[in-house]
Each structure stands twice: as structure tokens, then as C-alpha cells.
């Protein structure tokens, strides 16, 4: 343990930590992208009231919501090899990185599914009827009319969930993934200065979050381009 505070260590450790930034970003981008896809699939049975599947999805979503992500991470890390082992597949030596991706994808998907469901429901059904009256198929209506508008409604929530997810990636280190946190841990061991390293890490996470928030704001503004001050059109 270091005995006194050494501010310069904050600045010298930042580049060292940043060299592992790509791992954090990879985890985030993959788990958000896959989570979005899976989230849509999970939302569908609930939207269209598919029996049985709908109940399974409800339980799934509520389980993910009701348990800490760290526990989910360990459940996947220790549990998945057991489950696939039953089918004769050995993944005990799989890179922990993939367990992280799987866990965060599953977790994000549950959150995104609920976001999508509410957003899709919020699109006025009259437009769907208009699309049908023109001769659209259900699929054409979904991807040309409903989905683009649902995305607008869903986006701010998707953005928030993604930012939480970015912060959660710092837990990947608990199952041995060498990301910024992992690198931070080795730096702490090497320098015996924990506070400086954690300060450096918090600066990095905070700046990334700020950058993301700024980007999300731009996207949001674009998605809202067709929404006018309601008052003026009345």
C-alpha cells in the first residue's frame, strides 16, 4: 500500500489504462448490438400475445431485472459450461471475454425488450391501418412505418441503458477479462497506489460517458426532426 498521494501517477497511468479501452468498447458495442437484436425477438411474443413464449419472456425479463449483473455474470460463467456440457460441448476453456458478451447481451436484451415493447405500442395504430389500406404487408408496415417511429421513442431509454451497460463492463474483470479495470488492478499491484489509479479510471469512464451522451443527443435531435412544437399545429 502506498503511503502518500502522488497526483502525477494519475496522468501517467491514463495512457496505460487507455490502451485497454478497446476491450471495454468491444464489450459494450457487441453486447448492445446483440442485445438490440435479441431484445426485438423477446419483445415480439409479448407484443403479439404468443402463448407460453410470452410467459417465458415475462419471467426472463423479470429475473434479469431482479438480479445484480455481477451475479448474472457468475451464473453465466459457471453455469453455461455446465449446461452446454450436458450436450457434450466443452467450453470450460472459452475466453472469458465471450462469457462477458453473453451475459451483457442477455441483460441488455431484457431491458431493450421492455423499451421496444412500450415504444412499438406508442405508435398510433391508425398509421398501421393506413399502411394496410395502401397494400403493405405486415412486415413492410413494421419496418417502414412502425419501427422507425418506435426507435424515436425508444432511443433515449436505449441510450440510458447503454450508458449503464458501459459502466457495468467494469465488472468483466471479475471473471478475468483484461480490460481497463484489469489493467488498473495490475497497476495498483505494481505501484501500490490505489487511489490514483481509481481516480484515473473514473476520469476515463466519466469522459467516455460524456462523449456518448453528446453523441446520443445528436442522434436524438435527428430522430425528433419530424416532431414539431405540438402547439403550433393546433
Amino acid at each position: 500500500m502506498g503511503t502518500f498521494f502522488e497526483p502525477s501517477l494519475i496522468f501517467t497511468s491514463i495512457p496505460k489504462l487507455l490502451s485497454y479501452l478497446h476491450i471495454t468498447i468491444e464489450i459494450l458495442v457487441l453486447s448492445v448490438a446483440l442485445g438490440l437484436l435479441l431484445g426485438i425477438l423477446i419483445a415480439v411474443p409479448k407484443l403479439y400475445n404468443v402463448p407460453i413464449l410470452k410467459e417465458i419472456m415475462t419471467v426472463y425479463i423479470s429475473f434479469i431485472r431482479g438480479t445484480p449483473i455481477l451475479i448474472q455474470l457468475f451464473l453465466v460463467f459457471y453455469g453455461l459450461p455446465v449446461v452446454v456440457g450436458l450436450f457434450g460441448v466443452d467450453i470450460t476453456r472459452m475466453d472469458p471475454f465471450y462469457f462477458v458478451i453473453i451475459t451483457y447481451t442477455l441483460s441488455n436484451a431484457a431491458a431493450f425488450a421492455e423499451i421496444f415493447r412500450a415504444a412499438i405500442k406508442s405508435v398510433d395504430y391508425g398509421q398501421t391501418e393506413a399502411a394496410y389500406s395502401v397494400g403493405f404487408t405486415a412486415w413492410q408496415n413494421f419496418y417502414r412505418i412502425v419501427f422507425p417511429q418506435a426507435i424515436r421513442v425508444a432511443f433515449p431509454n436505449i441510450a440510458n441503458t447503454s450508458i449503464s451497460s458501459l459502466k457495468d463492463t467494469s465488472l468483466a474483470f471479475s471473471i478475468g477479462v483484461m480490460d481497463m479495470m484489469g489493467r488498473g488492478d495490475t497497476l495498483i499491484s505494481a505501484t501500490a497506489h490505489a487511489l490514483e489509479i481509481y481516480l484515473a479510471l473514473s476520469v476515463i469512464y466519466y469522459v467516455i460517458v460524456l462523449i456518448f451522451e453528446r453523441c446520443f443527443k445528436w442522434i436524438e435531435r435527428y430522430l425528433n426532426r419530424y416532431i414539431l412544437k405540438e402547439e403550433s399545429s393546433l
Binding site: 389500406s133 397494400g135 417511429q149
Partner: protein, 250 residues
């Protein structure tokens, strides 16, 4: 030509349409009148399967469907022959005025973007909204939105345009501009079925009036016959209530 035969429709236990027969010839402009709840909207929606009738058959042009056995493909094919103008406009909110019109042309009719835009511009000229081509629906007045709704329907060049109370969501001062647009396109020989509570408009524009009550067609005929010389008591009552100042021969 459009032929509706024996259309029945129930919601739960209530039968809303009790065997409707109707023939519509090319170029007909038919107004459907009737008291609230008589099934006018439901009938219109059964024609393009927004509501699936329980029984009966629908024929439009070369497509004839027994509603009970209509497949998804049949339904889409039938819808391609029709277009609808909705009470609440139902414009695609995320598309510009121009895109609202080109959307169906490109997606359903597989026209090229260029051709679709050309058609859309012609339609916009017709409804007097060329200058709003790039506006979003939320920036338009109700009357303007409904005119776009009409242009969207018209652009598809359908066998028939179905209008469900196209002006009843509008502020009174905006009704005129929409009725004028419908009058204008009526002159082009497009087949139209219009559900409306605008009696004077219906009388001027239609070549046939259909009066519905309680899920059946009570009476139909030329506007003169139905307005000046209604045969059924229910028609008389309805007209008396709606147009108290209007005198007809008994």
C-alpha cells in the same frame, strides 16, 4: 366494378352488419348516410379488410373473395385495388408530405423513386400543396393533412377510394377546403364511396345515396329520390333530424 354480397359482421355478440348487398359501378360516387352506430364505418372497413367480415363476398375488378376463405395474399391483392381516406388522416408522421404519397407507390406498386416523385408532385399540385412537399405532417393544419391523405389515396390510382367521414375531425372553417378537393377529384371519374354527415355535400357530389340503419341498407337511390322523396320512415326521420330546414315532398 365492385360487388358486395351478403356482408355480415359481428363484434362479439352484436351483429353490426346484417347482410349488406351493394353494387358500385365504375365512376360511381356513392355516399353512405345513416345515424351513428348504423355500421357505415364498419362496412367501409370490411371492403378493404381492415375489419374482416364474418360472411359474404367481396369482388373488386378481377378479384372476387369469399371473406371466410380469404388468405393474407388475397387480402393484400384486394387492398391494392382500393385506397382509404381516414377520419383522423393517419399520415405517416415520420415521412414528409411527398414521402407520404410516394411510399405506397414505391413499396407496393414497385414504381421507381423518380416516377413516384413525379406522380406525387402532380397530386400535390392537384390539392394545392406543392409548397408543402417537404413539410412533415405535424407542421400542417388538419385540413392540409386531410388533403395529403386524399392525395396519398389518389396517387395509387385505385379502383375505388373509400372515405370515412373525411371532414368530421376538422374545425368547421377547414371543412370547405377538403370538400373542395373531393369535389375536384370527383370530376375526374374516380369511383368513390363516401361515408359522411355533410348532407349538402353528399347531395351535390353523389350519383347515388345509400341510407343505412341498424346494419342494413334501408334505402338507396339518386340524391333526388332519397333527399326529396324518401320512401322509408327511418330515412325520413333521419333527414328531418339532420336537416330540419330541409323540406321534402311526402
Amino acid at each position: 366494378m365492385i360487388q358486395l354480397s351478403n356482408i355480415h359482421k359481428s363484434f362479439g355478440k352484436t351483429e353490426v352488419l346484417k347482410g349488406i348487398n351493394m353494387q358500385v359501378n365504375k365512376g360511381d360516387i356513392i355516399s353512405i348516410l345513416g345515424p351513428s352506430g348504423s355500421g357505415k364505418t364498419t362496412l367501409l372497413r370490411c371492403i378493404n379488410f381492415l375489419e374482416k367480415a364474418n360472411e359474404g363476398s367481396i369482388a373488386i375488378d378481377d378479384i372476387a373473395l369469399d371473406v371466410k376463405h380469404a388468405t393474407k395474399k388475397d387480402i393484400v391483392a384486394l387492398r391494392k385495388k382500393t385506397a382509404m381516406v381516414f377520419q383522423s388522416y393517419n399520415l405517416f408522421q415520420h415521412k414528409t408530405v411527398l414521402q407520404n404519397i410516394t411510399e405506397g407507390l414505391v413499396v407496393v406498386q414497385k414504381k421507381s423513386e423518380k416516377e413516384a416523385i413525379e406522380i406525387a408532385k402532380t397530386m400535390l399540385a392537384k390539392i394545392g400543396l406543392e409548397h408543402k412537399a417537404d413539410a412533415y405532417p405535424s407542421a400542417l393544419s388538419g385540413g392540409q393533412q386531410q388533403r395529403v391523405g386524399i392525395a396519398r389515396a389518389l396517387a395509387l390510382n385505385p379502383e375505388v377510394i373509400l372515405f370515412d367521414e373525411p371532414t368530421s375531425a376538422l374545425d368547421p372553417e377547414l371543412v370547405g377546403e377538403v370538400l373542395d378537393v373531393i369535389r375536384k377529384i370527383a370530376k375526374e371519374g374516380i369511383t368513390m364511396i363516401i361515408v359522411t354527415h355533410e348532407m349538402n355535400f353528399a347531395r351535390d357530389i353523389s350519383n347515388r345515396i345509400v341510407f343505412m340503419d341498424g346494419g342494413v341498407v334501408v334505402e338507396e337511390g339518386s340524391p333526388r329520390d332519397v333527399f326529396n322523396n324518401p320512401k322509408h320512415d327511418r330515412t325520413k326521420q333521419f333527414l328531418r333530424r339532420l336537416t330540419p330546414e330541409y323540406t321534402y315532398e311526402i
